[in-house]
C-alpha cells in the first residue's frame, strides 16, 4: 500500500498553490512591516500601517469604497429581488429573460468597462448624452466622467448593471423554493403584497440574501477594472477605490511595503463585516 | 476449486473511543453460509469490512485457510463484496461492471466473456448486460451486483445487508435465490443483516452480535430453542419472547418464581440447575408467545386482554397484568374481546430462565 500516493496527487496542485498563493501571502505580510526598495529593505515595524491610517487620501478612498459598497450591494440586491420576483410571476419567457439578464455577468470586465467608457463618451460626443437629449431628460450634455458625482454614479451604475443578473438568478432559484401555500395562507390572513413580502418571502430567503450580500460586499471592496478603466481614480480621487490606490502605490510609486500594509489592513475588516452580515441575516430565519 | 476456511481470532477494531469489534472469535467452515446478525451499531458491518480488508484490525488475526491475511490488500484476498446500495459503477455498462474485477485479477479475455454470460444467465440478467445501472430496477441492480461478485470466483463472498433496499416481495424472492445460489456455488459466504427472519431462513449458522461481541453462534434452531442469553432470546423470533422479571424463592424444598403479578412454581430439576448457576436471587423468566396457553385450567394466572391482532393465520393477543404485559399466539378461529379477563398457563418445558444480572441462560 503506497502511503505516498495521496502526496503524488497533491504534488502539482500544491506546487502551484504554494508558489503563487501561499508564498506571496506570507511574503507580502512580512513586506508590510518593511520599507522596501527592491535592493534594500528596512524594518519599520508598524509604521507602514500607521502611515496608511494617517493618510487623509486613504480615508477618502475608504469613504469612496464604503459608498460603492453600500450602493452597489443594496442596488443589486433590491433590483435582483425585484426582477426575480417579477420573473416568478410569469411562466413564458422566464428562461429568455433570465438568460439575457445574465449576459452582462459573464462578459469580461475590462471589455465592458471600455465599452461603457465609450458610451459615456468624452466631452465632444457621448452616446448616453445623445439618448438623454433626444428624450428630453436633460437639456445639455453631461460630462459623465469629468465631474466627481457623475463619475461615481457612472461607476455605480456600471457595477449594478453588470452584477444584478447574478443576484437575480440566485434569488429566482430561492424564491422558487417557497411553497405556494405559504402565500395562500398569508393572503387568507389578509396580508397585502408588502406584508406578504415581509412576513413570508423575506424570512424564508434571508439566508440566501445574507450569503449574496456578503459576497457582493467582498466584491465591492475589490473593485478594480471599473475604476481603472473608466476614470483611473479621478477626477481628483473621487472615484478611487482601495485596489486602484494600492495598485498605484505599489507599481507607480513603488511603495511596496505601504501597499501591502493597506491590503492587510483591509482583510480583517472585510472578514469581520462578512461574518457579521451572514450571522445577522441567517438569524432571522425561523421556520 | 475447494472452498476457503475463514478463521477470525480475537479480532478487535477501535474507532476513536468506540470499540466496534471487541475480541471476536469466529470460524467459518468452507462453503458455509454464515450470517452475522444483530442490531445496527453492533459491529457486524465492521467485522465484514475487516474480513474484506477495507479496515485493518487493531488486534487479532484473520486467516484464510491458515494463511494470515491481516496485511493483505483486498485484491490479494480475493474476496467479493455486495453492498446495500449495490455500488455499481454508474457510468459503466453491467457488462463492464462485471468485467472490471476480472480484468484486474488477470482473467483471460474469453474466460471473462464466458463467465459473465454464465453469471448473467444464472441471475437472469443476460438481456441487461449492455445497459447502465440507472436503467435497471432495484432488483436487477442487486442481481448485477451479485453477478459482479460471483464472476471473479472469489474465495469468500461477503454481503452487507444486500436486500435492505428492495421491496418486501422482492426481498422474499431474492432470499430464496441467494440461498440457492450459494448452495450451487459452494462459496464460503458471510452475510450481514439485522433482519432475523432473513438470518433464520438463509444461513447455515448465525452469529448474533451485540456491542462488538458475538453473543452466540449456532444454527437457527439452536438459537431459537436454546438462546444463550436474554438478548439472543429476545432478538430471535417475532413476536419476541415475553420476559418477566422476578425473584426466586424457596419454600419447603419447592422453588417458585415471583414476578409480582403471579408466582410460577418451578419444576425441581429446573430449579436445581438454576440455583447452581445463580449468584443472586433475581431472575428473568422468558417464554415465547406460542408457549403460553389461554383458558387453561391447570395452574392458571389471570390477565386482561389489552388488544387483539388478527393476522389471518393466527391471532396475537396482547395481555396486560398489573406490572407486566405479554403477547400470546392463539388460534385465529377463536374470538377474543378487549377488556375481558382470560386465564393463561405456561408450558413448563418451554420456560427459559435468565440470570437477573448477567442475563445469561440458566436453564
Amino acid at each position: 500500500m503506497k502511503r505516498a500516493t495521496p502526496y503524488l496527487f497533491l504534488f502539482l496542485p500544491f506546487l502551484f498553490f504554494a508558489v503563487f498563493s501561499l508564498y506571496p501571502l506570507i511574503w507580502s505580510f512580512r513586506l508590510s512591516f518593511f520599507k522596501w526598495g527592491v535592493i534594500t529593505e528596512e524594518f519599520v515595524g508598524l509604521s507602514n500601517y500607521a502611515e496608511v491610517l494617517g493618510d487623509p487620501y486613504f480615508w477618502k478612498v475608504f469613504g469612496n469604497t464604503i459608498v460603492y459598497a453600500a450602493t452597489t450591494v443594496i442596488g443589486q440586491i433590491a433590483l435582483g429581488l425585484l426582477v426575480a420576483g417579477m420573473l416568478t410571476k410569469i411562466g413564458k419567457g422566464r428562461g429568455f429573460f433570465s438568460t439575457t439578464f445574465y449576459i452582462p455577468v459573464i462578459t469580461s470586465w475590462a471589455v465592458v468597462a471600455v465599452v461603457w467608457k465609450m458610451m459615456l463618451g468624452s466631452d465632444s460626443y457621448s452616446f448616453f448624452n445623445s439618448i438623454l437629449l433626444q428624450t428630453n431628460l436633460i437639456s445639455s450634455p453631461i460630462s459623465w466622467l469629468g465631474a466627481p458625482l457623475t463619475a461615481k454614479l457612472s461607476i455605480i451604475a456600471l457595477c449594478i448593471w453588470k452584477g444584478v443578473g447574478w443576484a437575480m438568478i440566485i434569488f429566482l432559484a430561492a424564491l422558487q423554493t417557497i411553497p405556494e401555500r405559504f402565500y395562500e395562507m398569508a393572503k387568507v390572513d389578509g396580508l397585502g403584497v408588502l406584508g406578504r413580502f415581509r412576513k413570508v418571502t423575506f424570512p424564508l430567503i434571508s439566508p440566501v440574501v445574507g450569503m449574496v450580500s456578503a459576497l457582493l460586499l467582498i466584491g465591492a471592496f475589490n473593485i478594480f477594472p471599473q475604476v481603472y478603466v473608466l476614470t483611473g481614480g479621478g477626477p481628483l480621487g473621487s472615484t478611487e477605490s482601495l485596489l486602484t490606490l494600492q495598485y498605484r502605490e505599489a507599481f507607480s510609486f513603488l511603495h511596496f511595503g505601504y501597499a501591502s500594509a493597506m491590503g492587510y489592513l483591509l482583510m480583517p475588516i472585510i472578514l469581520f463585516v462578512s461574518i457579521l452580515q451572514i450571522k445577522a441575516i441567517s438569524k432571522r430565519v425561523q421556520y | 476449486m475447494t472452498a476457503t476456511k475463514l478463521t477470525i481470532e480475537n479480532i478487535t477494531k477501535k474507532f476513536a473511543k468506540v470499540t466496534a469489534v471487541d475480541g471476536v472469535n469466529l470460524a467459518v467452515k468452507p462453503g458455509e453460509f454464515m450470517v452475522l446478525l444483530g442490531p445496527s451499531g453492533c459491529g457486524k458491518t465492521t467485522l465484514l469490512r475487516l474480513i474484506a480488508g477495507l479496515e485493518k484490525p487493531d488486534g487479532g488475526t484473520i486467516r484464510f485457510d491458515d494463511r494470515v491475511a491481516n496485511d493483505m490488500l483486498p485484491k490479494a484476498r480475493n474476496v467479493a463484496m455486495v453492498f446495500q446500495d449495490f455500488a455499481l459503477y454508474p457510468h459503466m455498462t453491467i457488462f463492464d461492471n462485471m468485467r472490471l474485477p476480472m480484468k484486474n485479477l488477470g482473467f483471460q479475455k474469453d474466460k471473462i466473456k464466458e463467465k459473465i454470460l454464465w453469471a448473467a444467465k444464472l441471475l437472469e440478467i443476460d438481456d441487461l448486460l449492455n445497459r447502465i445501472p440507472a436503467q435497471l430496477s432495484g432488483g436487477q441492480k442487486q442481481r448485477a451486483a451479485i453477478g459482479r461478485a460471483i464472476v471473479r470466483e472469489p474465495k469468500i463472498f461477503l454481503l452487507d445487508e444486500p436486500l435492505a433496499n428492495l421491496d418486501a416481495q422482492l426481498r422474499m424472492k431474492m432470499r430464496v435465490e441467494l440461498k440457492e445460489l450459494q448452495r450451487k456455488l459452494q462459496v464460503t459466504t458471510v452475510y450481514v443483516t439485522h433482519d432475523q427472519v432473513e438470518a433464520m431462513s438463509m444461513g447455515h449458522r448465525i452469529a448474533v452480535m451485540k456491542s462488538g461481541k458475538i453473543r452466540q453462534i449456532g444454527r437457527g434452531k439452536d438459537l431459537y430453542y436454546h438462546p444463550a442469553d436474554k438478548f439472543v432470546a429476545g432478538f430471535i423470533g417475532a413476536p419476541s419472547m415475553n420476559f418477566f422479571e422476578g425473584e426466586l424463592s424457596e419454600k419447603g424444598g419447592k422453588f417458585t418464581v415471583d414476578v409480582g403479578d403471579f408466582t410460577f412454581p418451578l419444576p425441581d430439576e429446573m430449579a436445581h440447575m438454576a440455583v447452581k448457576k445463580m449468584r443472586e436471587s433475581k431472575l428473568i423468566l422468558g417464554i415465547r408467545p406460542e408457549d403460553i396457553h389461554v383458558n387453561a385450567l391447570k395452574g392458571s394466572v389471570g390477565a386482561r386482554v389489552e388488544s387483539v391482532e388478527p393476522l389471518g393465520t393466527e391471532t396475537l393477543l396482547h395481555l396486560k397484568f398489573n406490572r407486566h404485559s405479554a403477547v400470546v399466539r392463539v388460534s385465529a378461529k377463536k374470538e377474543y374481546s378487549v377488556g375481558k379477563k382470560v386465564n393463561i398457563a405456561f408450558d413448563e418445558d418451554a420456560i427459559h430462565l435468565f440470570d437477573g444480572k448477567s442475563e445469561e441462560i440458566l436453564v
Binding site: 495521496p6 503563487f20 498563493s21 462578459t107 478603466v229 | 483486498p74
Partner: protein
C-alpha cells in the same frame, strides 16, 4: 380577470425595458463596430448602421494589436482552464477520498488562502515572475493564473467527489483497482459536471482578470484582451470603431460558451453550496 392580464402585461413591459437596458451596451458595441468612423459620432445616433462596413474589423486585425490581444487571451484561457481542471481534480480527489497525514492542515490552508487579500498576492508574484525571467511572456500570466485558481476549484471538486457513495470506492478497492485507476474510473464521469463548472469559472476568470494582466506584461504583443484593450484605449481612445470590434470579439467567447453550457452556469451550487 381583466386585472390579471393588465398585471401580467405590465410585468412583461417592465421586464422588457430592463432587458433593453441590459442589452443596450452590447447593441451599441456591435452596431458601432460595423459603422464607418463618420457615422459613429452622428447625432442623433443611429440604431441600425446606415453604412455597413468591415473596416473596423480589418483594422483590428491588421494594424492594431487588438486581434493579437484576443488570440493571446484565447490561448491563455484554454491552457489555464484545462490545467486547472486537471490539477484541481487531482487535489479534490485526494481530499475527498484519500487519507493522509496533514490532510486537515492542508485543507485549512486552502480555505485560509481564500480570505487573503487578492492584492497582496500581486506584488510578490511580480517579483517571482521577474526573477524567474518570465516577465512579459505567456508563462507570466499562465502560471500565476493556475496558482490562483487552485484553492476554490479544489473545494468545489472535492464536494463533488464526496457525493459519490463510499461503497463505490470500497467496491473499486475490492475489485482490485489501484488508487490511480480508481481516480480515473470514478472521477471521469461522476465528477464531470463539477469539472465543467470549474472550467467555466476559470475560463471567465482568465478573460476577466485585469490587474495582474497589466502588471505582468509590458509589450503589446503579449497582452491579454483585458490588459490590451485597457492600454489601447488610453492611447487611442477615439478609435471607437476598432475598439468596439475588439470588444465584440472579447465578449463573443464568453457569450457563446454561456449559451452552449447554460446549465453549468448555476452559480448557486458553486457559490453558496446550496441547491
Amino acid at each position: 380577470m381583466k386585472k390579471n392580464i393588465f398585471y401580467r402585461a405590465s410585468i412583461y413591459v417592465i421586464l422588457f425595458i430592463i432587458m433593453v437596458i441590459m442589452i443596450v451596451p452590447f447593441w451599441w458595441m456591435i452596431t458601432t463596430s460595423f459603422k464607418p468612423p463618420g457615422e459613429i459620432f452622428t447625432f442623433p445616433p443611429t440604431i441600425i448602421p446606415r453604412e455597413f462596413t468591415f473596416s473596423n474589423y480589418e483594422f483590428m486585425w491588421s494594424s492594431a494589436p487588438l486581434g493579437r490581444f484576443w488570440l493571446n487571451s484565447l490561448l491563455i484561457a484554454s491552457i489555464v482552464t484545462l490545467a486547472v481542471m486537471f490539477i484541481t481534480s487531482l487535489a479534490g480527489f485526494a481530499f475527498a477520498r484519500l487519507d493522509f497525514k496533514g490532510k486537515r492542515v492542508l485543507f485549512y490552508l486552502l480555505l485560509a488562502s481564500l480570505t487573503g487579500p487578492l492584492f497582496a498576492i500581486l506584488i510578490p508574484s511580480f517579483f517571482i515572475i521577474s526573477k524567474a525571467g518570465l516577465y512579459n511572456t505567456y508563462f507570466a500570466i499562465i502560471l500565476p493564473y493556475i496558482g490562483w485558481n487552485i484553492a476554490l476549484p479544489t473545494l468545489i471538486i472535492r464536494a463533488f467527489f464526496e457525493s459519490i457513495p463510499s461503497s463505490v470506492g470500497d467496491s473499486a478497492k475490492i475489485d482490485g483497482c489501484s488508487t490511480f485507476t480508481t481516480y480515473r474510473k470514478i472521477m471521469l464521469p461522476l465528477v464531470m459536471p463539477g469539472l465543467v463548472t470549474v472550467g467555466i469559472f476559470t475560463w471567465m476568470y482568465t478573460w476577466d482578470e485585469l490587474a495582474w494582466a497589466i502588471t505582468a506584461t509590458s509589450s503589446m504583443e503579449m497582452r491579454t484582451m483585458s490588459a490590451g484593450i485597457t492600454m489601447f484605449q488610453t492611447q487611442y481612445f477615439s478609435s471607437w470603431g476598432p475598439l468596439c470590434a475588439a470588444a465584440v470579439f472579447g465578449v463573443l467567447p464568453s457569450i457563446i460558451l454561456y449559451i452552449v453550457m447554460q446549465k453549468y452556469y448555476k452559480p448557486t451550487l458553486a457559490v453558496t453550496g446550496m441547491k
